[in-house]
């Protein structure tokens, strides 16, 4: 890769970040700011999922378990010990890492759909256990205290501060993902995904690197869960531990482009927009139109462009006259079985 493209990429990233930072100046309506926050949250979860599901190719359909751990850990620490989420969220992240290690150690012996199924099972079991736990208020859920606010407690009256916290969390997650992508760990992840036998033959411990991928992803997903709790001020098993949450996280990454740094960000923009706008366009949430639209997109992406919308855009660009730069196309890797 030349320094030229490096510089261009850095400039593009800085431009994108500046745009995101200035966006709330143009979008002042609280409901629209909320919509932007939802996109940032979705993007953060998608980027986190991508580390294990995209780079390392281990499809988890149980990420809600890490999300839920983050949400419940920071909330419980706040409610019982009066700890700020600045402490509670990283603690939740560490709990999620421990859980990821305990779950990954046996489950990573499974390949492909077997692993995916095991992750669904684990998340569903945890949801049942939490729903029936007296300590965690079961199906009733937990409400955050209304008596404090400000940056120290990450509780705000207006949407704007949440927007910047969500943006900060997304930037952190993207940086972590970027660092992994560039490091030797990232190479091992891709080797595990594309050529597991060759990787093993070269002495790469498959389980060890799969565990690293899952742990990093779990930590970041848990931070997203803590943020959700702070923003909504209320959590229950249905909102943070349900399989539908796991599916949405994975879909965001798949839709945008698996195994690409910013694929999930694009995926979140598309998915959250469809979700929110079909809701306002077609009225009630129960009409199913949002499901129909994004299911159709998922099927189209799965059938025609395994590397997601980002991959599709790349393909288009290559077919346009003058757009023939084909060096280092990460999409090529994803298209392999």
């Amino acid at each position: 890769m030349t320094t030229m493209t490096q510089t261009r990429k850095a400039a593009a990233a800085a431009g994108l970040l500046a745009l995101a930072a200035l966006l709330p100046l143009a979008v002042t309506e609280p409901s629209q700011q909320n919509f932007l926050i939802l996109i940032l949250m979705g993007a953060q979860l998608g980027v986190a999922w991508n580390i294990v599901g995209g780079y390392a190719g281990q499809v988890s359909l149980g990420h809600a378990v890490f999300y839920g751990i983050g949400a419940y850990a920071s909330t419980m620490l706040l409610l019982t010990l009066g700890l700020s989420p600045w402490i509670g969220a990283p603690v939740g992240g560490l709990v999620a890492v421990l859980f990821a290690l305990a779950m990954g150690w046996p489950c990573f012996r499974l390949k492909g759909h077997y692993f995916a199924m095991a992750t669904i099972a684990v998340a569903e079991i945890v949801q049942v256990l939490v729903t029936n736990s007296d300590l965690l208020e079961g199906a009733v859920g937990l409400t955050l205290p209304m008596d404090r606010g400000g940056l120290g407690w990450l509780i705000f009256l207006s949407k704007l501060p949440y927007y910047y916290v969500a943006l900060g969390l997304l930037v952190l997650t993207v940086l972590a993902s970027w660092a992994i992508e560039r490091s030797h760990i990232g190479y091992y992840f891709r080797a595990i995904k594309d050529e597991p036998e060759a990787a093993r033959a070269l002495g790469v411990s498959l389980t060890r690197y799969k565990l690293i991928a899952l742990s990093v992803s779990a930590f970041l997903t848990a931070l997203g869960g803590s943020f959700y709790a702070q923003k909504e001020m209320f959590i229950d098993p249905g909102s943070v531990l349900a399989t539908s949450v796991s599916i949405k996280i994975a879909l965001i990454a798949i839709l945008g482009g698996v195994g690409r740094l910013l694929g999930p960000v694009l995926g979140a923009v598309i998915l959250i927009t469809i979700e929110e706008y079909s809701r306002t366009l077609f009225g009630s949430t129960g009409s199913g139109t949002d499901m129909i639209i994004y299911a159709t997109m998922i099927i189209l992406v799965a059938v025609f462009s395994p590397s997601g919308v980002l991959g599709l855009l790349g393909d288009l660009r290559r077919h346009l006259p003058g757009g023939g730069r084909t060096a280092a196309e990460p999409g090529k890797m994803e298209a392999r079985p």
Partner: protein
């Protein structure tokens, strides 16, 4: 007294287990023939239930009488799904395969919600209703008929696969796709057939339980996870395995619910999935 309760519990476990077996048989057939896990299988069951519901509401045809029609309809759905989506992802990465059938699952749920509303619906009085009492043990006639139907359909499928030319060709494709192709078996046709039959089995299960189970767009979610457990326990691709495993899972679910508490039923069954995956990934009767 306790013995009576235990027998009662075992009987209801057996009855529901046979339904699980029928749902799982279709899933395992598809997997056995082409190595694709159909996440939309529960939605085939849901469509079977709605087919029965509308046959009842619009044409006053009882779900039990409508079964052949339900089977044909779902066979067609299965073949259409294969021809439009699955055929194109046969050689795609696993991730695409998972998400194609996942997308189908969400699409079918969304369509059901769009056209038929998210309401829970019931078929009020079917031909089969009321209870049967055998000494101290009581069970519903609809559940009993559904279980009998499940045995009949699974049995018929077994006979088809082992005693007919077309069925043997399907089995051969499942055992060794390339060798079967060399023998002149049209692989594409077999795949479409597997999807047709798989969907029809799920649809029949839907028709059979429509007499006593609420009908709503997400009803498939209740069955797909259990069907996975059954398929894994029975051994991916094994019809006989799925039949036995269905009964075992039904018994464990009901017994577990009885001993630990009904709210833990799902967790118990899913723990069984994890245990089987980790201890004996090929299941009871699966290929090594």
């Amino acid at each position: 007294m306790t013995a009576d309760i235990l027998i009662q519990v075992l009987v209801s476990g057996l009855l529901i287990g046979l339904i699980y077996a029928l749902v799982a048989v279709g899933l395992t057939l598809i997997f056995g023939v082409m190595d694709i896990v159909n996440f939309a299988h529960g939605e085939f069951l849901m469509l079977g239930m709605y087919a029965s519901f509308w046959a009842f509401v619009l044409f006053a045809i009882d779900p039990i009488v409508a079964l052949p029609m339900t089977a044909l309809l779902l066979f067609a759905v299965g073949v259409i799904v294969y021809q439009t989506v699955i055929r194109r992802i046969l050689k795609a990465p696993m991730l695409s395969q998972i998400f194609a059938t996942f997308g189908l699952m969400i699409l079918l749920r969304g369509l059901a919600q769009f056209f038929w509303k998210p309401d829970h619906r019931l078929i009020p009085h079917s031909l089969v209703s009321g209870n049967i009492a055998l000494g101290p043990v009581q069970f519903g006639l609809p559940q009993f008929v559904a279980a009998l139907g499940a045995i009949g359909v699974t049995g018929a499928l077994w006979v088809f696969l082992h005693r007919t030319r077309l069925g043997t060709a399907l089995e051969a494709t499942a055992i060794d796709r390339e060798a079967a192709t060399l023998m002149g078996i049209d692989g594409q046709k077999m795949f479409a057939l597997a999807w047709g039959i798989g969907a029809a089995c799920a649809g029949l299960a839907g028709g059979l339980i429509a007499t006593f189970f609420p009908i709503f767009p997400e009803v498939g979610a209740n069955f797909i996870l259990i069907a996975f457990v059954v398929v894994v326990l029975g051994g991916f691709g094994s019809i006989t395995g799925a039949f036995l495993a269905g009964i075992i899972v039904g018994l464990i679910e009901v017994l577990g619910g009885f001993l630990v508490g009904p709210e833990y039923k799902t967790a118990i069954v899913l723990s069984l999935l994890l245990i089987v995956l980790l201890v004996r990934p090929r299941g009871l009767l699966g290929k090594a």
